[in-house]
């Protein structure tokens, strides 16, 4: 049983001077790049969209901004990310020569932004209004108060939820092979196409995702503890 298992592993990953493993490593690199790229884009977009939704005052300008943000969120949360990828890469970018990895980062980042926006909006609303009043009463502008006082507290509170989003993103990147990106999932599929033995490569693939997610969880935990410094009595 174990010999058989090892034999399958060896055929899949270790033959030809470990070519299978090296392909997996390349694929993992792409998975990591797409995850990090779309996370950064998602958080930046999320903050912008959240701020568009929480702006005080009832001017028409603010209503338009909130309307744009709401529409954006409705569209990106309301359609499958695979469909967005296909539409973006094969539809919108059909005539442009765009690197599929970049297309994947843009598309997953824009999708993630819709979810992160609602997380951040919740975080902003949870910060006591007295904080804003204190900042404004000192003469700070709305934007300075938001950036220096409200957002740091909001981000600290929503870090667990953002960690969730990071984990979801890591796993969600497994759909990028739809637009020809050879990520780690696609590499495993390619290997199976050669060896006709799906169990061991897919099991190994699952293990790699698990380890990556565990590392990400650990890193988020460190960040969270660091940001909780000011909570210690």
């Amino acid at each position: 049983m174990f010999e058989d298992f090892f034999g399958k592993f060896s055929r899949a990953f270790l033959e030809d001077n470990c070519s299978g493993l090296r392909l997996m490593a390349d694929g993992l690199g792409k998975t990591a790049l797409i995850t990090l790229g779309s996370l950064v884009l998602g958080v930046i977009l999320g903050i912008i969209l959240a701020v568009m939704k929480v702006l005080p005052g009832k001017s028409i300008f603010n209503k338009i901004l909130a309307g744009i943000a709401n529409t954006y969120i409705a569209i990106f949360r309301g359609t499958p990310v695979v469909v967005q990828l296909l539409l973006f890469y094969f539809g919108i970018c059909a005539r442009i020569d765009i690197d599929p990895v970049l297309a994947a980062i843009i598309c997953l980042g824009m999708n993630s932004g819709a979810y992160v926006a609602e997380i951040i909006r919740g975080g902003i609303l949870a910060v006591d209004h007295g904080q804003t009043e204190a900042g404004r009463s000192l003469g700070l502008s709305y934007s300075t108060t938001l950036v220096k006082i409200v957002l740091p507290q909001a981000i600290k509170n929503i870090l667990p939820a953002l960690g969730n989003e990071l984990i979801a993103l890591i796993k969600e990147t497994s759909v990028v092979s739809f637009i020809t990106v050879v990520d780690i999932t696609k590499v495993a599929g390619n290997i199976i196409a050669k060896t006709y033995e799906p169990f061991v490569p897919y099991l190994f693939l699952a293990l790699v995702y698990l380890v990556v997610v565990l590392i990400a969880t650990w890193l988020v935990g460190i960040l969270e503890r660091r940001m909780r410094q000011s909570d210690q009595r």
């Binding site: 006591d128 007295g130 904080q131 009043e133 204190a134 900042g135 404004r136 009463s137 000192l138 003469g139 700070l140 502008s141 300075t144 220096k148 006082i149 740091p152 507290q153 600290k156 410094q229 000011s230 909570d231 210690q232 009595r233």
Partner: protein
Amino acid sequence: MISVKNLCKSFQKIDVLCGIDYEIKEGEVIAIVGPSGSGKSTFLRCLNLLEEPTSGEIWFEGEQINTKNCDINAVRARMGMVFQQFNLFPHLTVKQNITLAPVKLGRMTQEEADQRAMELLERIGLPDKADTYPIQLSGGQKQRIAIVRALAMNPDVMLFDEPTSALDPEMVGEVLAVMKGLAEEKMTMVIVTHEMGFAREVADKILFLDGGVIVEEAAPEEFFTNPKSERLKDFLSKVL
């Protein structure tokens, strides 16, 4: 210094302030008292436009501040405010709380602001708390630091919104002592308070608000010993 002309404020259909006229002069200490729901806090918060007046005018140092053209941030930088719930920034150390606004608004460099913060902390006897976070402080310490944070902007007037109402009784004194020190330095102060003894001792004028209007205004002795309106007599009989 601050003049209020026919100030009205309504929240939805409830009229909280119904036509307040008052003139606060430089160096005066004004205490505002009255039953809860009388509009004291709303009146105070209208002075620096944390509440937008529904109608009426607020003038500060010769400029009408409740107009579109007024740079409200510049006005607020000259008006310090202290809140009932302290509202210190929990993610910043005590020193960062004090220096944030002066540095961000370009009044001082970080070094100058740090030095000024330490001077102010010396003055309230808390220099050893400079690098701690607000959560590690008692209520009285928090409120004294909140006062100092407002003072760091060198304001022309200080607004106090029930500064001792959220404190344990034994901590009220230390906060009132800091405020008394300010009054002795001729800082212009507007104080919404329930501390009648403090108002009597420190204020130049006491305003009695009820039902959104100034029912009575008088110097402290007159106010407590010879109240004219029935409502003030009734109020004093309950709180003294």
